[in-house]
Symmetry: C2
Subunit: 446 residues, 2 copies
């Protein structure tokens, strides 16, 4: 028997397809073969499939759970998880803690251990694809492959030396080698990540863009996030951050614009015109008191919006389930309108919207025949999950990451019965705790 030819079938589920019709199928079944979805429908195809494939079907009873497309975390710095909960609420945290800690501690090992822990957390929380920007991205790729996570990995480019480069802009060189190494991988999409407008020269930004264009890979950047970034752009060019990047000619559909908080009407026009995808990081932006990305206006213009957690030192958690209610509530509040952003639109941003932002919507983001099998099963037996009158609302306003029961990435079951099965969580946890002890000793002197 060729195990690769086995069919896996979910039954006894409600399917939130997020296909173009936004079909919701009660008592449905979803089947996949290798890494591809081959059937999505009502229960009645079950017998046909079973008779066709015989004993080579693995059946997963969803126990009346909700099967949704795997969620997409469009912006994070996964490897920062070893620093989580350190100096929250502190005024000069970035300069007082974060930069010195990174300077002293970030190496290949920390990056690998952090990425592995963060990926485990994302998988357990129903995330099946993430977009990362950090150092030593090759280590993140290794961790991602080991745990069978789909990822878009972008090496940081900066105008000063970084943990993995003794010289400024070392990330450019790193990126070329990194992209060459991973460009044909089935799980890893390599990209490039110039940190921000205020930490890069015009030349470096253009060079990064040329690399992205040459290889046709994503380019991601923190854009219009900081007050001082905007003032600097205004002062130097009399432009907003978005207008400055546009003038440089580096905005296109490969561009993933994280944060994008401090934007005006003209910026929104540019983002739409250049088909830039934007990433809303509401949890981190609110905790850091950075402001609110105008997603209502952006949606009106038809801009693609995905959700991100930002790094776990900024946003603490790495799942997307807990981002959705924050997005809904904060925008309802700011716009004084309870009907804005109904749950279905939040689920869109968490799935197919995120896939569009990352340029992967042909492959992932919805449950449709021919797409990759990236699936998240939300159980409905826990106390917080009943009753359900609206499946979207139940996920957005009732669920939390602990309700994620089973997760499939690229046709492989990676989480089952709420346990990580693509890696040894005990070992992963042990590594992070050892690292914490080491970090503690450094942090105490800061």
């Amino acid at each position: 028997m060729n195990l690769k030819e086995k069919i896996v079938l979910f039954k006894n589920i409600t399917i939130i397809t997020m296909n173009e019709n936004r079909d919701v199928i009660e008592d449905g079944i979803v089947a996949f073969k290798n890494n591809e979805i081959i059937h999505v429908g009502k229960r009645d195809i079950e017998q046909t499939l079973i008779s066709e494939y015989g004993c080579e079907i693995e059946i997963i009873d969803g126990e009346e759970g909700i099967l949704m497309p795997g969620m997409i975390n469009c912006h994070t710095h996964a490897s920062m998880v070893p620093f989580r909960s350190l100096a929250d609420d502190c005024k000069d945290r970035l300069k007082r803690y974060l930069f010195p800690l990174e300077q002293k501690l970030v190496d290949e090992k920390l990056t690998y251990i952090g990425a592995k822990y963060a990926i485990a957390e994302m998988l357990l929380g129903g995330v099946t694809t993430f977009c990362d920007m950090y150092y030593f991205e090759d280590e993140v790729a290794k961790a991602s492959k080991e745990l069978n996570m789909r990822s878009v990995l972008c090496e940081t480019v900066l105008n000063f030396p970084s943990p993995d480069s003794k010289k400024a802009y070392g990330g450019l060189e790193y990126s070329i080698a990194f992209i060459e190494k991973w460009k044909n991988d089935d799980l890893i999409t390599p990209g490039i990540g110039p940190h921000a407008p205020y930490t890069n020269s015009d030349e470096a930004l253009k060079e990064a863009y040329e690399i992205s264009k040459k290889y046709n890979v994503p380019i991601t950047m923190h854009v219009a996030e900081m007050d001082y970034e905007l003032s600097e752009c205004k002062e130097k060019y009399n432009l907003t951050a978005v207008q400055y990047l546009d003038k440089l000619g580096i905005l296109d559909s490969n561009f993933i614009s994280a944060h994008t908080v401090l934007v005006d009407e003209k910026d929104i026009e540019i983002l739409k015109e250049k088909n830039v995808g934007v990433v809303h990081n509401i949890g981190a932006n609110s905790k850091g008191a950075k402001g609110v990305m105008p997603i209502v206006k952006m949606r009106e213009k038809g801009i693609n919006i995905g959700l991100g957690t930002d790094g776990p030192m900024s946003g603490n958690t790495l799942d997307i389930i807990t981002q959705m209610p924050q997005v809904g509530k904060i925008h309802k509040l700011f716009n004084n309108d309870r009907t804005l952003l109904p749950s279905i639109e939040l689920i869109e941003m968490a799935t197919i919207g995120g896939a569009k932002v990352l340029g992967m919507d042909k492959e992932v983001g919805s449950i449709e025949v021919g797409k990759k099998a990236d699936l998240t099963l939300i159980e409905t037996y826990s106390v917080n999950m009943q009753p359900i009158y609206d499946y979207y609302a139940a996920i957005v306003y009732s669920a939390n990451p602990s309700n994620v029961d089973t997760v499939v990435v690229n046709g492989k079951i990676v989480v089952k019965n709420k346990k990580l099965i693509s890696g040894d969580f005990r070992e992963i946890r042990k590594s992070i705790i050892n690292l914490k002890d080491k970090i503690d000793k450094v942090a105490i002197n800061l």
Copy 2:
């Protein structure tokens, strides 16, 4: 052996005491006998206790978890949980769905089943005391006693007939009998709940106040929540809602003011002067786009603030853990200051602050010798709970209700290993699902 004399001892825990010094005790132990805490300290008393009490000690290994005071939900309508996720995001939800549904469906049975489910959810989420306002409060009391939950239960008073009264203001009469029945109970504190200024006459409000005063029990009300409430008060009396209630002479330390969003400087002065406790329901207020209670100013004045979820049709979840990060983030954002409301202050509102609001801070809200054993153990083995540099931050920004491992109310273990043990959760769940089918048939015609 007299089982009542047994000592229960938590070990291998970090204790967040929330005592006046806000002591945090690593590797601590907490012991309680009957319903009272008898020891709080470092590990070293363990042997003394064991030799003193011999085999009559039940030892609970906290597995390096965090033991905190049981959390307090200061405002909810527990029995509304059967309607959760119905018509979220809908414009006229209150009038189009909620009132007709309540009119047609709320009876003793629904109130009891709803309360039982909601209480199970609160206990599983680490809440050990809640303050309720609804109809048939005697049914809520029954459910609360059965599951061993501590509660402050306030029958609604309204100027129109309600599910449990054919005439207006029937809640006044109901309350007297209800208070008489429960006034000496060890778990139930009966009170009275005039619904809002705009649904009560001056006379009814004064009468409710007299009842509260006569029996020295809590009186709770929705205050300054609605735009139209404020306009009505302005138009009729040229006063804000708070000023109107103050003029009636009904504000005192028994008064629990829920929502309290639309208030000015003078209102805040009055609330402080009259020692009124206020309840912040950020989740429900943001989802309903109702505005943000000015807690930063209120805290500066020294007003007691507790947290509430509001009813589960408004706020969906019933735990307090998920309220804390919402409070922190939204106020940081609105005040443009990331240092505001550090985690310790959010935990205060969730515990001892809430106890003060309910007038129960002599009994609950902190882990101290002589106080009632109302305890919540947060496990730290799950992926979202590591690393921990700051116990407060880890609870506020990392935890979710699924991390609640063990819960003790009034010296009785009600949740253990994340399972409800004071009731049969399967049965409770079955009842709510049956009820949902019935509600569906009514809702479809609205």
